[in-house]
């Protein structure tokens, strides 16, 4: 593949990736806003208490916990689900790039993308 060909297919890949990013962010913001509305209606009158660090309960920090509390329509559970969606967006972007490079038969960069992806999944698993 010549440099010019590779540059133009890179740009097509980038445009597709840009679409994923925008969609992911908008979807995540919508879910977070929905959860925020539920949370404020239910808890808006309580006192805010974030001055001392206690750490979040399991319902809001593990995947099964978040899925459980979101499907029970907990406002905070829905917010966390939206945030998970947000965190997943760049991960999807890297996975997509790995596939794109593989389709272009660019082994070096397919491998690079897979290394980044494995670090991301390791981080997502809580390291």
């Amino acid at each position: 593949m010549t440099f010019e060909e590779s540059a133009s297919s890179d740009r097509r890949l980038e445009a597709a990736v840009g679409g994923i990013l925008r969609f992911g962010v908008i979807a995540a913001a919508a879910v977070v806003a929905l959860g925020g509305a539920v949370y404020l209606v239910r808890h808006g009158a309580q006192a805010a208490a974030l001055g001392r660090f206690r750490g979040e309960p399991e319902d809001f920090r593990t995947l099964p916990g978040i899925v459980r509390s979101a499907s029970a329509l907990s406002g905070r559970g829905i917010i966390q689900l939206g945030l998970l969606l947000l965190i997943a967006t760049p991960v999807a972007r890297v996975a997509f790039a790995a596939v794109g490079f593989a389709l272009e038969r660019d082994r070096l960069y397919a491998a690079v993308a897979l290394v980044v992806l494995s670090f991301l999944l390791y981080g997502l698993a809580g390291a």
């Binding site: 840009g18 917010i79 809580g126």
Partner: protein, 281 residues
């Protein structure tokens, strides 16, 4: 303070931070942690968790727009993300062990650094660099529009890849430790060390920030640093503010604004360091 009032305060602060951050190119994340800790007495760990997640939103939102203009170099970004994601995970693990005073102190230093980076005169080299051997093997060279997004594309090479890679690892550690995008250090690595054109450095840095932050966000989430009630207004406010800022950017005169925002950042940095030394943070 009732949660409703607290949420409205945080939302308006984040909106302003996101707006000014995107107008001046400093990013909104850097001011949100001082605002929350100094202004609203939120524990710094919750503040960093909320900021880190919001960084993903602004980076991904802005990157989508830049990518279309054709400045972003996806190979350089992907290659350097090996360093930033690894650094970010290390930084997030370090954050769990480091005392909050030390984190606040380092945060103050990072604020000063980003203000200095933003104000220093920019010397754009006229000659595009030639790729050195490692850069050639990695096929890092690219091309970008030379005169406006519609202009003819000009090729550029890449130099000093190992040094740039190492600096990117450090940028990742800071991002994971402080919950910021550390765009200033990423731009330094690409623009000054690897000799990339400035616009390629800033847009590729922005592209990488979201992936870097995502690497440590999982660690923060599972450690219970991401409070939904706090992160909701921070993320929505910064996202809306930065989208608004990007719209206004085309016709705004940012020179004065950049000085004002940098002055605010320096003041916040001094407050953070003083708070850390006084044992309040």
């Amino acid at each position: 303070m009732p949660i409703l009032e607290f949420t409205i305060l945080v939302l308006s602060g984040s909106l302003a931070a996101g707006f000014l951050g995107s107008l001046t190119g400093l990013g909104g994340g850097v001011v949100i942690v001082p605002l929350l800790t100094l202004g609203l007495h939120v524990d710094i760990r919750y503040a960093i968790g909320a900021s880190l997640v919001s960084v993903i939103a602004t980076s991904s939102g802005a990157a989508a727009a830049y990518v279309r203009e054709g400045y972003t170099n996806i190979r350089i970004g992907m290659f350097l993300e090996i360093a930033t994601t690894l650094g970010a995970i290390a930084g997030a693990m370090l954050a769990a062990r480091a005392p909050t005073g030390a984190i606040a102190m380092l945060f103050g230093a990072a604020l000063l650094f980003s203000a200095w980076m933003n104000l220093r005169p920019r010397v754009e080299s006229l000659e595009p660099a030639q790729s050195d051997r490692i850069a050639a093997w990695l096929r890092l060279k690219g091309s970008c529009p030379s005169a406006g997004p519609e202009g003819p594309r000009q090729g550029y090479g890449v130099q000093r890849v190992p040094a740039g890679f190492a600096l990117m690892g450090l940028a990742g550690v800071l991002s994971g430790l402080l919950g910021i995008g550390s765009g200033a250090m990423k731009v330094l690595a690409m623009d000054q060390v690897m000799r990339l054109p400035f616009k390629v450095s800033t847009t590729t840095s922005n592209f990488m920030i979201g992936v870097t932050a995502a690497a440590s966000a999982g660690v923060y989430l599972s450690r219970g640093y991401v409070d939904p009630g706090l992160t909701m207004p921070v993320m929505l406010g910064i996202l809306a503010g930065s989208m608004l800022g990007a719209k206004v950017l085309v016709r705004a005169r940012v020179r004065v604004l950049r000085w004002v925002f940098s002055a605010i950042i320096v003041a916040l940095a001094v407050e953070m360091i003083a708070g850390a030394l006084g044992g309040r943070l």
